[in-house]
Structure formats: C-alpha cells, structure tokens
Amino acid sequence: MPEIKVGLHAMPTDDFRQAATELILSDQVDVLECTFDAHWQLAENKISDYQYPDWYQSLIQVYSDENSLLGHAILLSILSAKTSARQLCWLEKLERECIERNYLHVSEHFGFFEADGFIDGAPLPVPYTKDAVMIGRAMLKKMAQSSNKDVGLENLALAFSKTEAQEQGAFLNDLLDKPNNFLLLDLHNIFCQIANFNLNAKDHLSLYPLHKVREIHLSGGSYSKSWSGKRDAIRRDTHDGPVPAEVFDLLDLALTLCPNLEFVILERLGNTMDGEDDFAQFRADYKRMYDLARGK
C-alpha cells in the first residue's frame, strides 16, 4: 500500500497561518485541503466579492501546482429532494473551479440543507429510502461530470436516532456505488455518534463501508447541554477545539480497517485559536496524527 499522505484543511484566517506555517515550512504537510465554495455567491451566478488573503491564495496555488490539493465543499446540499437553480449554478461553478485549480478529488457532505427556498448552513439527516438514494446518486454523477474528478461524501455527525446513526454507513454505501466514488470518513463525526448513542467504537465503525474510505478527517468539538436530561451532555461537531484522545484512538483503529486510505487531514475552524498555546496544541495534534498515519 502506498504511503498515506497527511495534511491540513487550510483556512484563510490568521490563526491558521500562525499555527500551520511551521508545519508547512518544515515539509510535514503532504497535502492541503480547501473548501472551495465557502464564499460562492450562488443566487446571482456572479463571482464573489470576497477576496481571500494573498498568502492563502498563494498557498493553495503551490499545492495545486504540486498535485497535492484536495477539494472540499459545503454548499451543494446533495440530498435535497427538489433540485434548485442554486444547485445548478453550483455545478456550473464547480466545472470552472476544477479547470482553474488542480484538485486530486472533490468531496461534499452527506445530508441536505436546502428545501423550499430555505437554506440551512449545516446538513440535516435524510430518511434512508430508495428515492433518497436515487437523488444522491444522480447528484454525485452530476458532480463527477462537472468536476471531471472522483467524488466523495463525508459522513454526518447528526442523526435523529440511534437507528439512523447505525444505518448511515449502509446509506453511504448505497450512494457511493460507482468506482469514482469514495467515503470521506470524519472520525470526530463518528465519535459524536458513539458518544451520543452510547455505541461501541469498533462495532459502529464497522457499519461504514470502510473499503471505500479514501480520506479521513480529524478534528475537535465541544459539548452542549442535553435538552431531555437523559444524557450528561451532547457531543457536537463544532471543529473548534483540540482533537480528543478518543478520536486518536479511532484513527488508530481506522488505519487497520481502511485498506484504501490515501489521505489523513486535520481540520479546525478559522478564528478558533487564540494565542501560542492553542497554536502549539494544533501542531501537537498534527504531529500525533502524522506519526500514527505514518506508523511511527
């Protein structure tokens, strides 16, 4: 098996720049991932007024030129039952994006966040039905046609029930039915389900199509209050803290169970690190992830 490439999800924020520069300059970052659609203005099909900082654009370009850039998306809403003009515009922009930048592959999130003109910025679960599978497959096909790349889906932390959490792996397996499809396995999202539904880590992980995992995400999160009071707390996928020990344990396990894994990426939202202690923690998390992925 080729050596796993380890990298960072690039954020256009100063805290990321300060935390990551040392890792990048010391050649410890094999690949970068970027969310290419974060500031797309889709309603009017125009180029966004938002300009990324020069250093960020240069960084992305370097990794693009070196065939080491992964594309990640947040705005398609792959399982919306009704296709919108906004989604069609997104697909057009994807085509242009993949001509301008050299992505190794592109990925989106499982779930839907657009319905009847309402757009939620976070994906919601979808009932596992034949219709939903057809919709998702069709949209993945369009995404592959527009990008001319292999396309993947990231598993979702939120599930409305324990059963739904346990069925998501089968749902993803049904959706990702083409050879150019892959699973982006977010281990913190898996951890959220394990924590919130009191699941066994290995049993739960094994419900996902692990042979389709090409990329893994690691991140941190937070806890919020349980409304019902039947749990101590709810684990949330907020991407704003250090990587918990349980997620490193999941990485250790996943590395033995995902035979086609190629990339392991550390994610942290921009503007969530405040000062040198946080930067050092971010680099320590990266180093631990790197060593695990490289079998050190």
Binding site: A81, T83, F118, D120, G121, L124, V126, P127, I135, S228
Partner: protein
C-alpha cells in the same frame, strides 16, 4: 433524479425545515411532525426521533438558516 422531484421527500424536507425553524420545544416539534397528515408515509421514521438530536437540529437551523 436531477430534474425530477420526489414529491414525498420534497414535502418531508419542507415540513421538517419549517418545524425546525419554529421556536417550539423539541418534543413539540416532533409532535407537530407526527401529527402532520401530509407526512403519513414518514410517521414511523419520525416516531424514532430523539428529542436531544431534534434540539441540535433546531439550534443549527436557527443559527445558520435563512430563507432565499
């Protein structure tokens, strides 16, 4: 399929987002969905909803959602 809407699921997603956009409590949101006659084919699915997870979805919709 692209270009073809799936009526039941279209309706379910509209009603779910509408219910989650309300200021009702999570148990009331579940009750509203369960008693919605347009969602009969999803009743057994809705009956499995965990109110803590509905609360999370409710927060997400209120934090990030907007009508276009």
């Amino acid at each position: 399929m692209i270009g073809r809407d799936e009526p039941d699921l279209v309706l379910f997603q509209q009603e779910l987002v509408s219910a989650l956009s309300s200021t009702d409590s999570p148990d009331k949101i579940v009750q509203t969905l369960e008693s919605n006659p347009k969602l009969n084919s999803f009743r057994s699915y809705i009956s499995t909803f965990d109110v803590d997870m509905v609360q999370v979805a409710n927060e997400l919709v209120h934090k990030w959602g907007s009508r276009h």
